[in-house]
Each structure stands twice: as structure tokens, then as C-alpha cells.
Symmetry: C2
Subunit: 131 residues, 2 copies
């Protein structure tokens, strides 16, 4: 059993290469093989969002607070709110982020394949973000 | 993309066969193969705890609120608090629950093997729970 005490893990600013706007990431867990789980607390400031991306085994978001947006390629932009769960299938191209004037925080849960849990694609344009 | 809106999933009382005391479970996600992730919000009333159990790919607990306890077989009982992350290895025999006079809620994340995410063992005695 390993206990990672609250406050002992550094929060980082998410890399500009894969995000638009200000996004803060606090790692929760990165399990060792044969387990696959990786989980991170992610906080998006208003207007901030991920780039388009996919996950080898899909992804689950548990929205902890605030209201934001998410979209899968070819589908409309949907609003997501505190307490909602958002599930993406393996390989499903998508993005998620804050609302235009509201923060959004979620726990992101995904599974790594050969040590890689996401494949990053192009950024979400303002037009795409606006829906 | 599937959105499961907050409030749309029924909370259940955890089965007496695998838990001691009053425990409430609200499912978050159960991914379909080839993904493995299963996550549940679990709320333990004071004194309540799981039975001893193992998970094929281990387990991660994110403590959302309150203060509780966790123990691995052969190790001391440790206190766990809001914001802590607790990680168990594949096959590690353990239990987790509330404090003697405090509630504890956590998100439990585990991975299923052949559709099974836990193997349940004997209950945690009052002597074991007391540490």
C-alpha cells in the first residue's frame, strides 16, 4: 500500500503544445504494468481546453466542479457540469475544456498502452470551441 | 462520447456480504473491453469498511472527503484523509473504510480482468479495524 498524502504532489501548468489557455494538472496516479490506469486532476480556466486527442483505451472524465464543454469529432459541442461523467471510446477523437466564462475541473482517467496514454493532434480553433 | 448526467445514476447500499456497516455506492464508469477501468464513488459511515479483498490489477483510491483508514495484510492500519491517494498493487490483500467516528468518501478506481474487478475475502474484525 502506498499513500500519497494530499499536498505532496506538485501541480504543473499543462504544456502549451497540447492545450490552449491556462490549465493546471495535478497527478493522481500512474500505475505500473501490468496495470494501466493513469489519473490526473485537471483545472481549466475560462476558455481553456485540450487539443484534439485520442486515447488507446478511451477516457473517462469525472467533472468535479464548474461547467465546461466537450466534443467528439463530427458531433456537436456539449456542455458538461459538476458531477457529470463523460466517457470516450478507444481511439475516439475529442477535446474537453472550460466554459467561455466558467472554470471546469475534472478527474481524467485513462489507460496506457505501451506506456502511452494519449495521442495528441491539432489544437481546437476558436471557431470549433465556440461550437 | 457518452455523457452520464449528475443525478441520473442510482446510489445503492453496498452488499452486506462484502462490507461491514453502512456503505453507499454510486457507479461512475464501467468501461467495455478492451478497456478495463471501473470507478465508483463510495461513502462509508463511521465504523464502516470493506471486507478484505484483492484486485487483479490493483486499485487506486482518491479520498474525496472525510478521514478513514486502510490496511494491507501484515501492515499497520493507516489513517487516510481528504485529498490523499492510496494505491494497492495487483493481488495485494487489503481493506479500507471510515474512521471510528468520521465519515470517509473515496473514488475507487480498478481494472477488471475477464469482467471481474475484485476478489472478496473474509470480513475485517473489530479487532483488526481498531488496529
Amino acid at each position: 500500500m502506498k499513500i500519497i498524502p494530499c499536498g505532496s504532489v506538485q501541480t504543473i501548468v499543462a504544456p502549451d503544445a497540447y492545450f490552449t489557455g491556462r490549465v493546471l494538472q495535478t497527478p493522481i496516479i500512474e500505475k505500473e504494468a501490468p496495470a494501466r490506469l493513469r489519473a490526473t486532476m485537471v483545472q481549466f480556466e475560462p476558455g481553456a481546453r485540450t487539443a484534439w486527442h485520442t486515447h488507446p483505451f478511451g477516457q473517462t472524465l469525472f467533472v468535479v466542479s464548474g461547467a465546461g464543454r466537450a466534443q467528439s469529432w463530427g458531433e456537436p459541442v456539449f456542455e458538461i457540469k459538476a458531477g457529470d461523467v463523460v466517457s470516450f471510446a478507444p481511439g475516439e477523437k475529442h477535446w474537453h475544456g472550460a466554459g467561455q466564462s466558467t472554470v471546469m475541473a475534472h478527474i481524467a482517467m485513462q489507460e496506457a498502452l505501451d506506456g502511452k496514454a494519449a495521442d495528441w493532434l491539432e489544437k481546437v480553433t476558436d471557431e470549433q470551441y465556440g461550437g
